[in-house]
Each structure stands twice: as structure tokens, then as C-alpha cells.
Symmetry: D2
Subunit: 348 residues, 4 copies
């Protein structure tokens, strides 16, 4: 059994971490922090946890966190980087769900996040926590930067094509849509049910913070060969709670010599416990992964033309955030990778 | 480990049984039948089960079902009663999720279901599977009639008031609302998203089949004393997937001598693993039980007047159907009652 | 043509007023105020109005409002009462959509709204703007207090029963549910899509501000005879945008001498342009009135017992607020009562 | 006043035609046909029309239809083409909302629709009813083929770019999503609320029937110059009722010489009553056109790179079907083009 701490537990990734961790057979959640809700029982904020935990939110306290075996950050960007130096001086290891340590280029980080990076010295050490790409490095990592939700769906979807160098990397398109939990639990007019229900829209079409993360990740998948990936990324807001659907478009470099794409995808992910390639011709639905840690993927070549289409779905709170964080933890501590994550999606 | 059979597995109670049973540590699902889908892999119909089961639907076969330790019927009314005599001649036990064996009065059953009962000789033996009322009888039962969804929410909500004889039983009101899974998975215009989304309506206000079941159950809770309960029951259709919310109105018999209702409810359900009384003044939300087997209840006495209000929520597919069926199975086979059912609701 | 002013136009009743008034053939919207959005084009806040109006929000200014023929208040409670004395000194007439002048008992108003009434001297003059009850008084009124959404649905539903003295008035039950627009357009966690979508709950079961308004209105409908009405009112929050559904329960005083209820309802509302009695046995759906000013009603006597059930649906923003306000304006200014309101609901 | 007939009025385009036409000041709906519902009052099927029409469905009858000034077909594909020759021998004109006369290449039609075209001799005469492109031809047309929903959104979005020859036409991407009304009103498991609510998926990624229509239309917009357009079209199903959102990706041919795209779009559509270009940087929402005939468009050039992004939203039942049909009728009969269509979208 390991002791776990959670920093910033009042948001949706926080409650999702708790949903998973209170049933994890090797974990005790020892501390969960929130400045705003300190003293409040977690189950008073999240009634689904009534009967499953007696935890109360507490003020953040590096000493107490440092006594944990691992600390999850479920905080807005900018928080983890400030606490990190002190925290890593203790014995604990960290899984950061925020964006703070995802980009290796701290200058680019600063441009997209509108502030100077507060802890550039630790960025190089951070391991990007996409197990399907970085499993070995994660095992040893002291600091794992858990991928964003859109980047997870996009990278897993493009992975086999880019590893094999089959498509042009200067013209990748990620047309993706997220349920409203992606916008967090802040009180905002923009995400009231009355504003987003029964409607659909794109947002941040001119540029979204996940773009540089996607581009960095895709270039890594190419093994850093060739030009950096150039991605056009348009996110959309879905009138629903959970789920990300990424529709990925790319151009085959040698259309006449493409391998069997279905076989390529099935083989690449055959040993991945959390990636499921759908039967040929089937389309994945976000509800098929609701509450589960699975990414389901389909690949199409419409009209046998040059443009390839990949469909990739995840639950943005699970494989897109807290589930992947637990998966990383399992790898870091030598547990079975699926421990506590072998969940059947809630369908219908 | 016991072997389980499921008859009629293509509906929503069928897939919900599978969601629960494929993770149940003491169960092997040996057979699942469907005339329409025989030969099809279950996971092809329900993609959330991909990777969790290799089962295929098969034609119903009493012999094969009879080799199971327990058989669940997840069928429309009228099916279980016809198979029951032959099935009970084998060694198997049965949990029937349909309405076939819920009413002891087969004539009343015939009036409400529009056909003569096909197996009146077994009705007396059937145990009504509401564990909070009939736990001991369930333990020994060969045939358990699992309660309907609305009746579960209504009976648990009224339970303490009626056991104590605190309210008039000739004027009970059940104003309840269900998610659309309550209407099943049949292709019908009436339950298309385009017909029921962003809308709300009552239905069957003149009389719903769950009415006699509710009245029978409430009279049983009174210990059969006094006049049969008279209930006004109006169901409503919610623009959502899962969840039942029952708002129960009753009149105090002796308003000046009412006990502390909050304490009454908390004490009555203190040892019930699947009934949770909310803190005073809180209102239960259906989402707080989504995918879980819990019933959450609140009790109010507005303006300190004579009319009492009880709010009771369940997931209609879990505590309202398949979860309760598994709870009954656990009791019948001497397993821990919460085995395989200790689930955190999916929130948000 | 008359000139219209709107105070507090940034909420949902404000935009709904504009939707109706920009197409009203006898109206020019001259001014719309908002402290927070002063200077902003209305169509920038509400893109559905792009191309339909060039109005901009302005600071509230009694002089400019006083030059209008009529001023609508679409403000939170407490605002209208403070502006009213100065405003009524000008020549203008007022339709107040807020709760400020609905209750004749200002002490009771103060208890429910948590503050002393700021303008008790004008309360007696205010006419309660339910045209189906007060049409003649509205015609002459200088100040119309437009009914709340729940009270509109409840009063119209109970109207024929109470006018005829057919039911006990000490035990009326209003079990009602509203779309989330009823909670307004404020940034609140409680009404985020992620919090209320795919869920259902009661709220304020211990007491809601619309209760005294409903009780006052129902007593008025009885002609003030007998004891004041005693109502148990439980509102619920629906996972949808617009619509109120009230399920009304009452006890027949002389069950053996009840008239034909269907005929009673049809006759009472035969000449009402905005009340539609459904055919016997049909249930009204909220979507059938989405965006329209109609209230649709059904009446049932389940099992021929003593409890009567009335179903009443309105669009909370139209007949429940802004549409009824325009209906009142039409009456006040001698226009055809349906002018600008003869809208087909948006279905599907 | 003209007399209008509607063939196949029980689907969603039928009820939407009625919503618009019963309020159209120059129209009398004389006949509406349905084999399945003949004899039934329209308002019994569509309660939003109660009080607005006394029409009843009747059996299709060419003679009676021929006495109308114009006949709308709101039928599945294959119906209009069979009735057309007889119908056009009468004096009537036709607006066909189905796919029967949209493609000039009847062989291609046959491939995509799985049957030989039943009336190839009239295909050449049919005018493609996209007013923003074909207004003059529509004015004189005897037979107008009303565009599909996705093709309307895609063509209006790409229009200025293709007219100006600014983007490569061999690599156009239409990533689009539709509310569930796009799937019609047939009883199907696939579009039950319980199957599509709170979920999102692509469908027909391998090829959708609207693809050849989009490609034909885009080539026409280019003036038939150059190679036929090659489009990758992936439709998605949204968990909502109405609305189409098309996200269009294209590659600039001369990135260094692109004109001001915002100005280009604003100028091109300045005189179009039903196309609204959003302010620079704004994203259109489907709810902003709910129930209205407007198409709202935004154009972006993310990161100043070579890929352009256009966002285009319509109500699939209005501008995507019945509203556009009425717009065509207005043009054909010399009415003001906006007559009966000057509707404010229902928001919220």
C-alpha cells in the first residue's frame, strides 16, 4: 500500500482521481488539499463519494504532502511549478495533471500560458506521461507530466501513421470535440447548461494551448526526425458531460504504397491494455469509454484517396486526465498497469 | 464461483447485468440468450464490454440454463412465466427482473398486463426481492421477483413512515420521473432523442402498471394492517439516460406527535448498505447514484404543516433493476451483500 | 406604435422580451438598460438578435425610461421597487416581471425575500398580471406585477377546480419542474451543464419563494372565500433549457358529485387565446410550448378515486415571464391580445 | 395568396414546413399527404401546431396536388422522382427537399443511392436551389432541387474561397456535425435518446451520400473550372436536436498573397439576407440559428499558416431544409425573399 496526496481536489480531475483511488487496492489517499474548501468533507462536495471516504479537504502543506509516496497535482497551470522544487526535495514522487511540465520549451510555454515558467530547472527532468510512448521512462520518473486530454486523443490516433512515416507532417489536422467537463468546474456563464446545451460550437480556432503540446508529442513520435509537425487544431464544445472525440486528417506520402491500415493499427496496439482498435468500418462512440480508461480508435481511407481519417475517443476525465495519471502511478510503483482501472464504461 | 445465465440479454437491464457480473469475483457468466441476436458477440452490440467478455448470445435453451446456479430473466413480461415451470425443475434458482411474479394477485396482474397469467401456481412461492424488507425470505428463495424501478424508489422512500404508521395510507402520492432507459431499448418514435430531449412530460397519468405493485408493497410494509394503501402515481419522462427521482407526498396522521423524521430515517437505514439518508435539508440528485446501487433519500416537513415530503433517487438500471438483482443473488448465495456492487457513482 | 423601455436586459427574460418585441408590429424598443453591459450592442451578447436590432445597452436613466409608453422590469427582486416611485411620476406605465409587487402582504414579502419592501405604498395599486383572471383590471393598470413562472402554471392548472369549489384547499400539491433558464444567467457552479445535465433533483423542498404567491393567487381564484389555500410546493430542476411542467394534486370535496372535468376545463378556457386544453387522455409536453405563449393543460381522475391530477405546461420564459408580459402590454394598450405572440412552438 | 401542397408531411422537414407556412402571409397550405397518417389531424401528430391549423393528412393524389401553385416534397429519396412526370404535366411548380434531383450525374446518383434513377429525363431541368449561387435560375424554375443540409453548410462556407480560386480543390475537408433530427423521425434504436444522448461519434466516415452533392456544388462554385473538387467529408452525430456545424479545412494556394479573408467574406455576403459573417475572431454557435433560416460563418487562418479554417452553422431543418425550401418558393413566386422567414432564433 502506498500513500497518495492530491493537491487541488475540488475540480473534476480531483473528484475523478478520488473515484478511482478510493477503490484502488494498493492505495490509501492520505491527504487532499483545497484552500477554498479546507475543512469540508469531500463527500459533502461530491455526493457520489458518500460512504466511500471520510476524507476532508485540508490546506496545502508541503510537509504533509512530502510524506506521501506520490502526489497528484490536479491544479490549474502555474500552481505545480511553484510547489515542485520544495516538494521534490522530500522523498515523494509526482504526477502532475496540469500543463506545467508538459512542454520542454519553456519559452513556448510562456507564450501560450501568458506567464514566465516558474520552475524551468525541473522541466528537463519531467517525463511526458503517455505510457504508450514513454512507458520505460515513466517507470523511473520522479516527475511525470500527465498529457492533456486533446493531446492524448490526438497522439494515440496518429501514433502508428507517424511512427511509420506514412503521412505528411506539415499538414496534420486535429478536429476535436470535448464534453463540457473539459472546461472545468469554475462558475462561468459560458458553460451554464442554458448556454451550451442543445448547441455546438468551435472555440479557440485561432490557437489553443494544447497545440504546442500536440506538435511536440507528434514530433517525438516520429523519433524527432524531419521537420517539426505542423498541426491545425480546432477544438469544439459538445453539449454533454464527458468524452473527447478527435477526428484526425492527414495526407499519405505514398498513397500507392500504403500498408493495410487496419492491420497496422491492430498490431501496434495489440499489447496496449488501454487502446482498443475497432473492427474495420466501425466508428467509436464516446459513450463506449465513459468512465473507463480506454482509447478506442478507427482508421479509414475514404474513397481510397490520399487523405486518411482516424477517429479516436477517450473519456477526457479518465484516459484524458485522472485515469492516465493513475496508469502512470501504477507504472511508477511497479503495480499491474491496469490495477484499479479495469472498469467497464457506463453504457447506456 | 457460481455459474450464471441471463435470459434476454439485449435490453438495457441485460447489458447492465453484464457490466456488474463480468467484474463480480464469485461469478462466471456462462450463458446469455437472445433469439434476435443469437450468434452475435455481446461486445459487438455493447462496445463498452469490448475486452471484458467473449460471450456470444445464444438461443434460449432450458437445459443449458438449468445447468447454471442462477438464471436472471431480463425479459419483457410474459416470458419468464412460461419458461419458469420447466426451469425450476432443474436445480437452478431464478431472479426474475420482469413483472411476472411481482403481484400475488394474479387476477390483478391479468388486468394490468392485458393477458392471463401463464404460471399462477408458482406465484405464491415467489419472494418479492426488496432486500430492505424481505432479506430473510430472499436468502432461501428459489424464485425471486425483483421489484420494478418506480416501486423500489417509492417503497424505500415511504418505508419508515409506513412501518411506524405515521401517515394516512388512503392518500399517498408518488410523483416520479425516470430517465429514458426506463422505456427500454425498443425502436420507437416516442423515445427518439429528437422527441424527448429538451422536453418533459407525464405519461400514464390515468394508470401505470407499477401502481398495483407499489400498493401491494406499501401494504406489506404496514405489515398488512389496515386498509390497502391507495396511491396516486404519476410517472414522468426525463430528458436523460439513467435515474429515477420519486417525490412522495403523504399526510401525517397525528401532526402534533410526529417524531424527529430525520432521526427516524437515519436509524431505520443505518445498517442498510444501499440506502443513504442525506443530511437534513439536502436534496438527493439522480447523478449522485448514476451507475451505483444506492438509493439516496431526504425527508422534509415543509412549513411544519401536515404534508410530508420524501425525496428518493435511484439509478433505474442498477438499484431499480440489475444491481438489485445482483444484490438478491448475493443474498441467495451467501456472498457479502455488497460484493461486486460497491461502486462509486459516475459524477460528473 | 408605442415606445418601450426594458430595465435589466442582460438576463434570459430580457433577451426573450427582445425576441418578441423586435417583431411586434406596434412596438419600438427605445431603450434597454444594463449597468454591467452599458455601451455593448445587444446582438454582441445575444447572437440570435444579429440583424434584428441595433440596440445597445445603456445605463439606467429614469428620465429616458419615463419617455417610454411602457417600461418592462426584467430585474432581480429589489430593483423595481426602488425605481418605481420616480418612474411612475412620469407618464409611463410599467410591467414588472420581478417579484417586487406580486404579494399584497408586504410583511410576508419581506420574510420570503429577506429584506424590507422598499415601496409598500404602491403595492396596493399593482395589478397581478394573470390575464385569465384579471384581464379587466390589467386594462386600466398603471403598474402590472407579472406572475412568476411556477405560479402561472399552477394557477392556470387549478383555476377551474377552485373557481367551482370542487377540491379541498387545505391540501393542494404542486409538484413542478423547470428547465435551467429558471435559474437565470448568473455564473454559478450549480447550473453548469456538467452539474445539471443528465440529472434531476428537487430543490427548496422546505420552502420556495413562489409558495406565498401561489397561495395568494389560488385564494383569489376562489374569490377570497373560505380559508387561505395551503399548498405543498416542491420545485425540481430539469436537465433542459426551457419549460415548466406542473403536476397538480388535489382532493375532491364531493367525489360522487364531480362534474365532467374534461368539459369543465374545455369550457372554462374556450375563449382564452393562450390556454389549450388537451384532448382527454393526452399528456402535454413542454416541447409543445417551446418559444410559444401557450399553457397546455390536461386533467385526470386516476382510478376514479378522490385525488385529481392536473398537468400544466408552459415555457417559463414566454408564458412564464416575457410572453405574459407582452400579453399584459397588449391588454394595457388596447392591442389585439395575441399581437406579436401568435407563435408556433419550435418542435422538434 | 398561393396554394401549397406538401407530399410526405409526417417527417421533421414536413412539420418544419408547416411551422413556417402556416404563418406565411402569402400562402395557404391546401393539402398535406401521408399514406400512413391519412385522415389524422396534423395537430394530433405535432402538438405545437394545435390552434394553428385544421389540416388533416390525406392520401397522395396527383390531381389534387396539381391544383396547387407549388408542391413541396418532404419525402425519402426515390418518391419524388416517381411522381414528378405526372405532376409536372399539371400547372404546378415543385420544390423537392429530397435528394432525387440534386445530382446531374444520374449514374453517380444510382451508385450512392443504391437504385437506378426513376426519372433521368427531368434531371437536367432541375435547378439546384442554393439561392446564394443560383438565384436567377431559381426564379424561373419549374423544378427546384433543394440542397441537402450538410451541402448547404459546406458550400456557403467555402463559397468565397472557391469563387476566388484561393485554395487547393483537391484536398478540401468537411468535418461536420449534425443534430439528431438529421436522421429523421423513423423508429430506430440508433437514434433513441438512450443511445445518442451524452455521446458523440462520427458515422459514414467511409462515404456519405452528401459527398457527391458537395463535390458537384463546389465545382459549380468554381465555375466548373479546373479539376473536380475532391472532398473528404466526415459527418458526426451530435447529442442535440437541431443544428449543423461544419468545420472546413483547405490549403491556400498562394499563402503569401492571400487577401483579407474577413473582408472577403463580409463583402461576398453583404447582400445576402440569410448569410451572416461573424465579427473577426468570433465563433458561430448552432443555437444562434435555432429555428432561423440564417447561416452564420467565421473564417480563421490559424498561426498564419497555410491551412484555412471556416466555421459554418445552420439549422439543419430550416436553412438546411424547409426554410431554404420556402426561400426558394419566395424567389420563384416573386415574393420578398425573406417573407415568412424573418425569424429570431430561439436562444436560450
Amino acid at each position: 500500500m502506498i500513500n497518495v496526496g492530491i493537491v487541488g481536489g475540488t475540480g473534476y480531475t480531483g473528484v475523478e482521481l478520488l473515484r478511482l483511488l478510493v477503490k484502488h487496492p494498493e492505495v490509501t489517499v492520505a491527504v487532499i488539499t483545497s484552500r477554498a474548501e479546507a475543512g469540508i468533507a469531500v463527500a459533502d462536495l461530491y455526493p457520489n463519494l458518500r460512504g466511500h471516504t471520510d476524507l476532508r479537504f485540508s490546506e496545502p502543506d508541503v510537509k504533509r504532502l512530502g510524506e506521501c509516496d506520490v502526489v497528484f497535482f490536479a491544479t490549474p497551470h502555474g500552481v505545480a511549478q511553484n510547489l515542485m522544487p520544495a516538494l521534490l526535495e522530500t522523498n515523494t514522487r509526482v504526477v502532475d495533471l496540469s500543463a506545467d511540465f508538459r512542454l520542454r520549451d519553456t519559452e513556448r510555454w510562456g507564450q501560450w500560458y501568458g506567464q514566465a515558467h516558474g520552475c524551468p530547472e525541473l522541466v528537463a527532468e519531467a517525463v511526458y506521461g503517455l505510457p504508450e510512448v514513454n512507458r520505460d521512462a515513466i517507470r523511473q520518473a520522479r516527475l511525470v507530466a500527465c498529457p492533456g486530454c486533446y493531446p492524448t486523443a490526438a497522439q494515440l490516433g496518429f501514433l502508428p501513421l507517424l511512427e511509420q512515416g506514412l503521412v505528411a507532417t506539415d499538414n496534420l489536422i486535429v478536429s476535436a470535440a470535448s464534453g463540457a467537463t473539459g472546461a472545468g468546474r469554475q462558475a462561468k456563464v459560458d458553460t451554464l447548461l442554458t448556454e451550451v446545451s442543445d448547441s455546438f460550437k468551435a472555440y479557440a480556432a485561432g490557437g489553443h494551448r494544447h497545440l504546442p503540446e500536440i506538435e511536440q508529442g507528434l514530433h517525438d513520435i516520429q523519433g524527432g526526425r524531419g521537420e517539426p509537425a505542423r498541426v491545425t487544431f480546432v477544438p469544439h464544445l459538445l453539449p454533454m458531460i464527458r468524452g473527447i472525440h478527435a477526428t484526425l486528417y492527414s495526407r499519405a506520402l505514398s498513397p500507392d504504397q500504403l500498408p493495410d491500415l487496419q492491420a497496422l493499427y491492430e498490431q501496434r496496439f495489440a499489447n496496449e491494455p488501454f487502446v482498443d482498435v475497432m473492427p474495420a468500418g466501425e466508428h467509436p462512440q464516446t459513450r463506449s469509454v465513459k468512465g473507463s480508461n480506454v482509447c478506442r480508435i478507427s482508421v479509414f481511407r475514404p474513397q481510397d484517396r490520399d487523405t486518411l481519417v482516424v477517429l479516436s475517443v477517450i473519456d477526457n476525465l479518465t484516459k484524458g486526465a485522472s485515469g492516465q495519471a493513475v496508469q502512470n502511478m501504477n507504472i511508477m510503483f511497479g503495480f499491474e498497469e491496469t490495477l484499479g482501472l479495469d472498469l467497464v464504461a457506463l453504457l447506456p
